[in-house]
Subunit: 299 residues, 2 copies
């Protein structure tokens, strides 16, 4: 099935003409979400249904690189090319305010993370997927005993090292954009196939994948020299290092599973649309981290 | 809300008159599932709406013992009183056939177990519930490293020690009664509140709770002398011992959580109906273990 990456409209498999007509129709009504999606992903120029259909088909074509390669390429394009995402730029040598914005919003993200992964476990019938998700949930949220605190715990410790007690972080509700993004991911978990939920979540771990430069990223998630210097607290290093190391394997392994099962189950196009929807949500969520950071600048 | 423990009918909170009318109506139509439920749980005698309403109210009354005490009492009544469940009787000193029936059907149960617990994780907003479920899933299915194999792994090893390779066990589809019970639990996970899913699954771990005799059980899950003698294989002892030890804490802790949140969230009656529905499914599933065991008797 071909699905719209903005709303819930869906079309027959490979029906890019239908998808194109849908986008042109929405653009004629000046629907801001559809227009923005076209501007960001396809073209800023007005074009006819036939041209757009061709462009959409090209956008979603993954024959040469495989589904995993396609997801990586689209992710890098969005967050790591000529204009890296503003949050990534801020994290190169992060201010205390940027890191605290990260802490306060990201605790909400990680709570949703465990819920989304749990939806995959609840719905999948593949044991390798179940075991992958359990390992991921344990690393991110459950922890693996006193010597291996979860990313969630390391995040809260980073906040404490910067002067924000965990109680304060935990009782701060998410900003509206974070809440919106979380709702998007939760709805995907609730109502979509488990492969789409996987595709919505795990490629996001690419954000901290230190190997992304090999695939064309112009910068890393942060300048790795901060892990050895004294410009950030030890707890900050511990948090950033964990992501830097764990997320390489996490995102690669998950995308292998997505690729392995998507084609066999005839779900590649659904997966692609949901992936695109999710990176839009992630983009907005990363902006919310910066917005929250501003509150700490004046403090 | 008061719900029927057999079908999807529901009534206002505490509306046992409504529930009673529903049961009488179903009994007049001779609906076998409703009649059997009344026979098993309330009375084998025909009675009027008013008397039945009073009896139903008494059946679900947990004011004196709390919700946890009520679930324990009902569970013991069903599986452990005058007439213990036939599978429990067979497990006192189990034959090889009984144990192999256990292996083949229970692998399917444990696959559903992890899915049901994952539904709780996906839906709950309480961190203590999330952490409880993660620990439970790891123990039952994920395992905790090479020194702490999961119950699922121990089950398959028991099968191997009795001459059934894991590939054979894994490729054997469930018997119809097991499949039906699994569907019941999966539907609860999919469509019910997370508290009901907890109440559907975790009290079932009472089956192996070695402390149940203190609460009125007439026998244990098996005769504990088999753990020290030579009548069963070492792998069988390892499997049975795990349940014997882990399930005490699992079931107690889960029922504490269910009790803690049910009343506050106004869900005690839903929880009770779903618990009753689940022990019916469990009863039938335990019979399926015996049925499968018979296939191995002639082998």
């Amino acid at each position: 099935m071909t699905k719209c990456a903005v709303c819930t409209a869906s079309f027959g498999e490979g029906d890019y003409d239908g998808l194109s007509q849908h986008f042109v129709g929405q653009a004629e009504k000046s629907d801001p979400a559809h227009v923005m999606w076209l501007n960001k992903n396809i073209t800023k120029k007005k074009c006819d249904v036939q041209t757009l259909s061709k462009n959409l088909k090209t956008h979603f074509d993954f024959r040469d690189e495989g589904l995993k390669g396609w997801m990586k390429r689209r992710f890098i394009e969005r967050f790591y090319r000529e204009k890296p995402h503003p949050f990534v730029l801020a994290l190169q040598h992060p201010s205390k305010a940027t890191l605290l914005g990260y802490v306060v919003e990201h605790q909400h993200f990680l709570r949703q993370w465990v819920r989304s992964c749990a939806y995959v476990v609840a719905k999948t019938d593949r044991v390798d997927v179940t075991l992958y998700e359990l390992d991921n949930i344990n690393t991110e949220f459950g922890g693996l005993g006193p010597d291996r605190p979860s990313h969630y715990e390391l995040l809260l410790r980073m906040g404490e090292s910067l002067g924000v007690p965990r109680e304060q972080a935990l009782r701060t509700p998410p900003l509206p954009d974070t809440a919106w993004a979380i709702r998007t991911w939760n709805e995907i978990g609730e109502s979509s196939h488990w492969l789409e939920t996987m595709a919505a979540m795990h490629p996001l771990e690419l954000i901290a994948n230190r190997n992304l430069k090999q695939d064309g990223a112009t910068v890393g998630y942060f300048d790795p020299t901060i892990l050895t210097g004294t410009e950030v607290t030890e707890a900050t290093k511990n948090f950033l290092r964990e992501g830097y190391e764990a997320d390489v394997q996490h995102s690669e392994e998950a995308m292998d599973l997505i690729e392995k099962y998507s084609t066999g189950l005839g779900r590649a196009e659904d997966v692609q649309a949901t992936f695109m929807k999710s990176i839009d949500a992630f983009d907005r969520y990363l902006m919310a981290r910066l917005e929250r950071g501003k509150e700490f600048e004046s403090a």
